[in-house]
Symmetry: C2
Subunit: 282 residues, 2 copies
């Protein structure tokens, strides 16, 4: 249990970081929307391995939610989050108010091209612009040496990496594997929305991904059939709708072709809850 | 006459700057598209006043030109530019190739809101997104302490300042007043396009601005009439078309209202050449 500094303003945060920076310390940033679970903890652990100090940010970013999405009910539990950050040994929590990130008159946004127009981009058209803008702001406010993202949001990681490269942001992006419950369900703050029956069904997403990964390894020619079947199975099991279930080029997110590095990604609805997941194939 | 370092690549440029930075020297960046004239020289002079080393960049940025604009014929004269930079005592010329700024796969752009949707934004819809993106990239590649822009491109200065503030870019923006020929014509690389007759007419732009500034001071109630008359006078004198001639809030560029800080801005065509100019009212 260590001391956790809490900074609500950019200037306060920067003053603390300046001390570490003047000492030549390496700083890692873990950007989150709070409601921290073991997936986040794994990111912070990774930060501790590669940097001297870890900063976690908690900011439920309104610009990445669409008008009919779950901004209002997104879980907020800062007291529990702070206790977890203390336990894990995070050094500083940056939990800015809206005004610190989007002051009066704010009107800049960062847009990416092709990589944001597939998968999540189709179903959440404003999502990646919101993510890219807030991540750029956090990276420029904190100016960490490293920033750490979870592979659970695979497309987001690729979008952020592309933006960092395109804009010459001076930061190294590290990623950590998805953390799962024993039954395979990927940890997500949104799992809290699931009722008991939905929670029971949820791990079938991972099973569907596994089945496709197996097919890809053994007989890629039969892939389309297996993907179609996996969709039908999910719907039959009780998923309300499947936004996408696709095999993609792991970096560009374009439809997979023989020889490409592959990533299998899914987004599907259980009742009112939208879950996403993905796996690699190596 | 001093030594001018020429860097074509980001890495080469950064290596030179690191030496100065490690010595604690202050660095100013003057971003240009080349075809340097005394307006640019004034920016570099300002940089020399406020910083220890001045970096000038020359990059004719294709993304800020529309499909029917003058990208192909924009004047390129690097040898003359380099001689001028030597004479003035600029320390480093960063003249990157296209690939240094827009490598394969580049797909990020920066968009601003209201401030980019008036005046130039109406007539050159991709212009400010191109400017914001390339300026952000130059600022992030060079990471200067100061960056210097000319008031000749007044709306551009406001767009860049807004972006720098919105994205928390750690740089101070300085501006230098427009440099004019003795007859009032604002210096511009595009003045090279003018034939003798057009060159003779061109200073009337500045006269129109002056007339409106006078009206604003003496009788703002009669402003609309005077602006309308100034437009007619320009057309009668031989200007082919007036894109805009407007009194605006000097920072937001919204239509001017009594009590606002004012800026008077004009864009008009002489033959195939589009000229812009602006003045304040203090």
């Amino acid at each position: 249990m260590s001391h956790l500094i809490l900074a609500r303003s950019r200037n306060d945060m920067r003053q603390h970081l300046k001390i570490w920076r003047d000492q030549g310390k390496k700083i890692a940033l873990v950007p989150t929307m709070g409601a921290l679970h073991n997936g986040h903890i794994a990111l912070i652990e990774l930060g501790k391995q590669y940097a001297d100090h870890v900063v976690t940010s908690i900011f439920v970013n309104p610009t990445q939610f669409g008008p009919n999405e779950d901004l209002a009910r997104y879980p907020r539990q800062e007291d529990e989050d702070r206790a977890k950050l203390c336990t894990i040994g995070c050094d500083l929590l940056y939990a800015p108010n809206l005004e610190e990130l989007y002051p009066q008159g704010f009107q800049t946004r960062i847009e990416l091209g092709a990589i944001t127009q597939r998968l999540e981009g189709v179903f959440r058209p404003h999502f990646f612009s919101g993510v890219a803008t807030v991540v750029a702001k956090l990276l420029l406010q904190v100016t960490p040496d490293l920033a750490i993202f979870g592979e659970k949001d695979w497309q987001q990681v690729q979008v952020v990496s592309t933006m960092v490269k395109d804009l010459d942001l001076d930061v190294t992006i590290l990623t950590a594997p998805t953390v799962r419950d024993p039954d395979g369900l990927a940890l997500s703050s949104r799992n809290a929305y699931l009722n008991a029956e939905e929670r029971r069904l949820a791990p079938k997403l991972k099973s569907a991904l596994d089945k496709i990964a197996h097919q890809l390894k053994t007989n890629p020619a039969g892939l389309d059939f297996i993907v179609g079947q996996a969709k039908q199975d999910l719907l039959a099991a009780g998923f309300r709708e499947i936004d996408y279930l696709e095999v993609c080029h792991s970096l560009t997110l374009e439809p997979w072709q023989l020889g490409d590095p592959a990533r299998i990604l899914v987004a599907a609805w259980l009742g009112q809850t939208r879950l996403i997941d993905n796996i690699g194939t190596s």
